[in-house]
Symmetry: C2
Subunit: 271 residues, 2 copies
Amino acid sequence: MAGTDHRHQGAGLTDGGPVVILVEPQLGENIGASARAMLNCGLAQMRIVAPRDGWPNPAALTNASGADGVIEAATVFDSTAAAIADLQHLYATTARPRHMVKPVLTPAEAARQIRIQGGGGGRVGILFGGERAGLTNDDVSLADTIITAPLNPGFTSLNLAQAVLLVAWEWWQAADATPPRQIDTGASRIAHRDELLNVFAHLETELDRAAFFSSPGKRPSMIRNLRNMFERADLTEQEVRTLHGIVTALSGMRRDGKPRGTRDSGGETAD
Amino acid sequence: MAGTDHRHQGAGLTDGGPVVILVEPQLGENIGASARAMLNCGLAQMRIVAPRDGWPNPAALTNASGADGVIEAATVFDSTAAAIADLQHLYATTARPRHMVKPVLTPAEAARQIRIQGGGGGRVGILFGGERAGLTNDDVSLADTIITAPLNPGFTSLNLAQAVLLVAWEWWQAADATPPRQIDTGASRIAHRDELLNVFAHLETELDRAAFFSSPGKRPSMIRNLRNMFERADLTEQEVRTLHGIVTALSGMRRDGKPRGTRDSGGETAD
C-alpha cells in the first residue's frame, strides 16, 4: 500500500506508546522492517539488545523505507535487564507455550491493556526475540505478561518484523476511530428515495413503450426485480442522473418528445 | 516468534478462505514473505499477475521460510481480469483515497464481510498492488469493495507482505475463538480462598512472633496491605505451598516447633 506524506511522519505518533525491544536480532533487514511497521502504527521508540551484526547497521536504515527517525533514535543495550530498567509494565511475545504461570494474552487483549496502562502514565515495553529461536525463557520470565498471537497451528513461525507489525497494529487499532465502512460520494450524495422512484418510473415508462414486458402478468415481478438490482447499489444522486441519461439515450427519445438521433450537448449522437 | 510443527502445516487451513492476488509484484522476497504471512493466517491460495522478475522465482521460495506449498501452488496470470475471472466478490487494498464511489472498509470489517461471503459459499479474492505504486485505478475499479487500513497518517506506506499479513490476520482473527486471556497453571490450579487465608494467617502469626508490627494501631492496615499484595498475584495452590515454606524457612521455626537451623529435606539449612 503506497501513499505517504513524508513531511508529516510524526503526525500520528502518540506519547505513551509502548517501547519495542528487539532482543538479539540477527538481520538488519528485519530491524529496518520492524521500524517501518512501528511507524506505520504510530510507534517510535525502539531498543535493541545485543544485535548480532553490531550497530549502526546500514541494512536497517535501507529497510526502514523512510522510517529513518525510528532507526536513528534506537538505543542499544548489552542485556535485556538493562534495556527494561526504567519500564513499569513488560510484555514478552512468544509463539510457543512456556509453561510459566503468567497471563497469556491475544494481541488485541494486550493492546487494550497496554492502552490502559499507557493512558495511566505507565511506561510499557514489549520484548521480541531474535529470528532463530525467539526469546529465551529467562527473558520471558522478566515480563509480567505474555502475548501470543493465535495463528495457524500448523505454521506459527512469524517473521520478526511481521510479529512487530501484528502487535503494533493491534495497539494502533485499539484507539482508532475510523468508521468500519465509509463511501466516498465525492461532490454528490446518496440519492433520496424519491430520486430513485423517479428514475424507476422513467425506466419503466420507456420499457413499456418498447414493449419490454411481453407478459402483462409477469410485469409486476419483473419491475420488482429491476428495482432490487438498482436499490442494492446505494446509488448517488449523480448516478441517478446518469441513469436518466442512459435510459433517454437508449430509448432514443427525449423527455421533451424529440425523436431519436437529435444531437444533445450532454451525450453522443445516437445514430 | 518461533515454534511450528511443520508436519501439520495444513492443520489450520480453511476452505472458503479468500484468494490473495498480487498484481505486478516486483521482489521475489516479498512474494515469499507474503506466502509465509498467508500460511500463518491459514490462507493457501495465491495468484500472481505479471510478476516483474518472472516465475518461478527462487527468492520467493527462500523467503517463504517453509510456506513452500503456497508458492508451489501459486498460479500466474497475464492480466488482473484473467486472475479474477472465476471470483464472485473482489476486494482491492489501497492506502490512498481513489475517489471512486465504492465502499471503503477497515481490514476488520472486511474480514467480517469476507467470512460471511465465504461462509455462504462465495469465492472471494483480495487484490494487492506492487511495491512501487500499489494498484492502478483500473485495477481498483474491478473490485466491489476497497480495504484501507487506517494507519499513522504520517506514514501509511506498508510493505507488500505486511499489507498481506494485516488483512490475512484480520480474516484469521475474525473466526478465532482463543480466550483473550489465559493462564497456564501447569499441574496446579488457582488457589481457593481458604488456602490464601491459611497462608495469610501463617505469615501474620510469624510476623507477630517476630515483632514485625511495631505499632499495634497500624497492624490492621499493614495486614490489609500485605494481603492485597498477594491477592493481586492470582496465586496457584502450588505457589501458596511455596509461600508457606518460605515463611517457615525465614522464621526459622518449624510448624512442629523445632528450632532454627534444623535440617529439612524440603529446603536448605537455614544457617
